[in-house]
Subunit: 277 residues, 4 copies
């Protein structure tokens, strides 16, 4: 028996499509669309981020990602530019018209992130940070809810339920790989989660092949698999110079490889008549 | 440092393509081909198996699967028809011209299985049954090596190495899901294993979405994902009446759904110029 | 190469012993001591909690546990009495002289919890809630850091490092079971973590057999195993009437069984000359 | 609902105690006894094995272990002396009077192993090698059934059921660690399996802390934990010179450390009134 109610398929007559207000036009994530979210793992500098944003816009990306606060396993790793990075992201949004997605780790950051960030991301480590989920449930802002590293599908949908039951229906799920015994890859993409969620829930589901695999050479094939399995989009890391990235360089695509990814998933999305602009 | 040698990509200049002698023509599994293996989990009766075989042949399947000895977790479950079932499989092969793949569990069954079965399958539970692998390494028969339920990629390639190093280069890998904490699906398909194996090894890799998911509704999306990720084919369970199957009915496709699967993966294979007859 | 520094054994000449100021005397957790923390999963009512506290005091428990904010997987489950429950805990502390441990989930609760709670617990789901860890690192209060459900030993010690590197050396680790494929038990106790942590770190380590197993019949044997393996104590759930518990009743000991547990682990602690009052 | 029948607690009125015929006296494994099985991972040479056997006998070990056929992950690793090693083991048994336990991997080895080996061991990789289990079920010889690397408790008991239902009640279970995401240890000892099996089944259960941890420094604490949790014994690897061992040296105890282990677990066994000679 399912413990999730508002997230369950039977609760609504049709699939949720989340509207993302963007400059000039509104974007949609969900049924009938194939959304491509791209950007560097962390915002590192104004020049690098703006340059990447312009390239991504030109190559077709729909939404710009960038980390301000990086939840790093070690306290001694680069943790992001924080509030300073937000001004850089806002400038990139102004220049490109692309909506922004960025991770929120602390409810106290909400007041100044709320205005500038179009989609608030909840990271894997915070999937069961229930006080954060409840706060986001009281907003009118889309939330990208990443699956916890060892969260079952049911736990994930129950985390979504925390947001939904507080009044915010704008939840986008993001599969980003689960923890298994395999050590050659960073995580194991649970590709079956995509069709399973489509049966159990009406919420849109995208896949993040970058964090899931940890290896840029695997990103394109896994992104193709995600769209073929029915995902509503992908979120990928792109860095102008992956070797110099301050975090997650090994899993970042170069802009050239992003172009290849875009073309290849477009062909698969086309088979199902999905809109990829 | 890799401990597998003959299975490693650097050992050979090109990808292994395994030839499967079939009546009238030779089939190939590997680069450039998309192979569809189908059939019921277990051979249950002459009429049911022959009927299914004829249907599958008509719908485009390339190879016929059928279990003679089912490795059942409980000693009280249906264990297959054994040697008697082999005569049924042989008849179906005669009628359809489709080559046969069936699991071997005991080296003592080799003598009579060798003649009739075109591809000898090593099941997950026997992936590290090294005496069996060594025997198969001394044959000139293709071997379909399923990944163990909790085998790492390296352990899997080392199991292949047992066959290769004994003289038999005709190894086909088969991803069939790994064991994780997720309980809504039978296993978790490691879709990333497909591109990773393509980087590490020259051996062909196919995916079994039926055992991997345990739910027939997930079989088509996961099969599509497998081909999109670069797999050389799929192996699926098809039963004329899944509700009446003596084993694994819940994960078996009806012939009608098999037709849909075939058409859909063909479109994806076509994008990469792969031959699916 | 280890990424944790302050948590590493080589950084300090001796094992950390955390002092817990208690009314009348100071308690210690760490080398040479065997500490027993007990109490109900959640504070449910004044009468029930005070009654249990008095019983536990009489039977030898050293520290009283009780949940105010229960991080429940489903938003529809009982979530604890919150701030109201704290007054009940404070009364029980007054009556028994036992120090209190309770979970903190939100940094905004710190101001009023700080005075009344003697050990602030970080739950599994928040083990990588880095903003919470950083705040706790700035306090002069002992922190009980539970292992995340799928956290590696290294990740766990790096989480401790977040607290230590912010200035608070009073960290007590708590193994509470990890997530595996096994489904008959709630989690799998990683008993090997105890001796491994003793080699890698100077921090005290206790074991929570209640959450780890989810079955009260397993609590006593696993608690004995923990002490035999070298743990510095155990934390167990005790409820006057487990069948009526609002959460986790199946894993709660009756007071009678707590007495048996206490006697049995005392015998094992005695073998190693550990003080269990 | 349990699928195992003969292995289930409700099927028999009392716990199974397996008799091991030894020269001069009969040994017992099960309730009331604490059995210590020790020896090197593999039989490497006559001198080394006999010397170790004499030392172990003098230090109190009850049963001598030694591998003839080592199931090695890589085909290029040392695989054991095979049949030649059996003569060495038989000589050690003659000299010490200790019964022998050794792994059987291939039913075709049964004829000559049957006479000399007192307990036939089924290794983790073969826990679901059902044809092997069925053969062993037809013998009148004790079988030590190791848990598969990712076998659930239910699957393990069903594997035992294959032996029991074929007529052999002499099954001893052996927990040897399961595969999890943790990478600092070779496997994760499922200590909770001990009390859980005592509730579910009447079969004796021993623990192998050497394979389970992969680190000799963890062997003594985990062995103590096993006995404290209610295990009927332990099986440990001992090598006269672990640094020179051809396999698994890192997890082998020196004879001196074996003596410490023996003394320490004796104290814990004494608390429960168990006989350790």
């Amino acid at each position: 028996m399912q413990r999730f109610k508002l997230a369950a398929r039977n609760e609504k007559s049709k699939n949720t499509v989340v509207a993302i207000p963007a400059s000039g036009q509104t974007l949609y994530i969900g049924e009938g669309y194939c959304t491509v979210i791209a950007g560097p793992c962390a915002v590192e500098s104004r020049d690098s981020f703006v340059k990447t944003a312009l390239l991504l816009k030109e190559m077709g990306a729909h939404i710009l990602r960038g980390g301000l606060f990086k939840p790093r396993t070690s306290p001694y790793s680069f943790k992001g530019l924080g509030r300073e990075g937000l001004a850089i992201m806002a400038e990139a949004r102004e220049l490109t018209g692309l909506p922004l997605v960025s991770e929120i780790m602390d409810v106290r950051d909400l007041d100044y992130m709320y205005e500038q960030v179009d989609i608030l991301q909840v990271g894997s480590r915070n999937m069961q940070n229930f006080t954060l989920l409840e706060e986001l449930g009281r907003l009118e802002k889309p939330v990208l809810l990443k699956r916890g590293l060892s969260a079952t599908i049911e736990e994930w949908l129950l985390a979504a339920e925390y947001i939904l039951s507080n009044g915010n229906p704008r939840v986008i799920l993001c599969e980003r790989g689960i923890r298994t015994f395999e050590i050659l890859t960073r995580n194991t993409v649970d590709i079956g989660a995509v069709p399973l969620l489509k049966q159990l829930s009406h919420l849109p589901i995208i896949v993040d092949p970058s964090h899931a695999t940890g290896k840029w050479k695997m990103v394109i094939p896994v992104a193709k698999a995600a769209i073929a399995a029915g995902a509503d989009g992908v979120m990928v890391e792109v860095h102008p110079d992956p070797d110099q990235a301050l975090s997650d360089g090994k899993q970042s695509l170069t802009p050239q490889n992003f172009r290849i990814l875009y073309e290849q998933i477009k062909k698969i999305a086309d088979l199902d008549g999905k809109i990829l602009v």
